[in-house]
Symmetry: C2
Subunit: 187 residues, 2 copies
DNA sequence: ATTATTTCTAACCGATTGGTTAGTTATAAT
DNA sequence: ATTATAACTAACCAATCGGTTAGAAATAAT
């Protein structure tokens, strides 16, 4: 009986995700979302509830995209060298026309305040913990490392990723290279 | 002849700086600035031109505040150990009531876009380069390090500071500690 | 062809954004 | 005491914010 949707929710969310990635949460207005998603406010609100709903779905979409890199890391079986490759993969991933947008998760963590929506904070936390645990898992492949060392180095690497995300926005290729080389010297 | 100002520009800018530090640039409205600075719009605009002018002065104020830590580092003559102490000093510096606001420079670098005000981008860049050069200067105290190593490690350290700034907002004390310990293992 | 249902368009909502301005008040020099 | 000047208050501005809603258009089952 009903009229049929002219848009695909998965497709428009990917466009919304790119807008949030590019501009940040606050700076991405409903007006921008309408234009970028290619549908009007009514459709956005009926599909995703409100701006926060669009953002939560965008975070899920981002997670899926980044999972391609994470899965490559999991499958590489190269230990620390695989993680190092992941760092470089991320730099390429964060770029759009040679300009880096950083990491959507890190950007959001830096933007939101303590009183932000609980579901967003939870999404950031679970996402970060997930990547951290993959780092720990890969580090454990080296049998000479005890559990304490693995956990400590996983903390080091996940926070280093936060630095890399920020850094891609203002430092040059050489500096990013110096950064990554130093990170992996003693792992 | 004129009536005299009831406020001190230096004092109100420090309050503005704290508001920007706490909320970020976009989320700090003129309404918030009026309340926090304790003066009304007319006074703000006549003293600082516009919101951007208030922000630029706030960045200067932040720079002065952080310079206390930088000067301590310069005077310490402890080499790398002094830089490590600076990292811990920064964690304390970024805290307000046990909640970290991160670093105003890093927060801003993460928030602004490519089309942001040139004077703001310039302020961020010169500020960052200044800290980086102090790191290089301190590293050079170790005579066994050649210039290339010094520059490379300075890049590593300044980007690590960006990571630390983000990290203070979401990671716990133990994780921050693991992070810092690892940074300084091979310097 | 009719009808029930849903999508879509577009005008609209109050609140808030950064910024301005007319008019009042205080002050220091005359 | 008068006066020129600047600081101040508070009302105001257009534009935009996130979000709503009435009515037109499309569609699939009958």
């Amino acid at each position: 009986m009903p009229r049929i949707k002219k848009y695909n929710e998965q497709e428009v969310i990917e466009k919304a995700m790119n807008a949030f990635w590019h501009n940040g949460y606050e700076a991405t207005s409903m007006q921008i979302l309408e234009k970028e998603m290619g549908i009007n406010k009514f459709s956005i609100y009926s599909s995703f509830g409100n701006k926060n709903g669009v953002f939560l779905e965008s975070l899920k979409c981002y997670k899926q995209k980044l999972n391609a890199l994470i899965n490559k890391l999991k499958d590489s079986n190269q230990g620390v060298a695989g993680i190092k490759a992941y760092f470089y993969d991320f730099i390429a991933f964060s770029k759009e026309n040679e300009i880096s947008k950083g990491c959507l998760i890190t950007n959001t963590a830096n933007e939101i305040q303590q009183d932000a929506d609980e579901s967003i904070k939870e999404a950031l936390y679970s996402f970060t913990e997930n990547v951290r645990s993959v780092f720990a898992q890969v580090l454990k492949h080296d049998a000479t490392k005890d559990q304490a060392t693995v956990e400590q180095q996983a903390d080091y690497l996940i926070i280093s990723m936060f630095g890399l995300s920020s850094a891609t926005r203002i430092f040059n290729k050489k500096q990013l290279d110096n950064y990554i080389q130093n990170i992996f010297i003693n792992l």
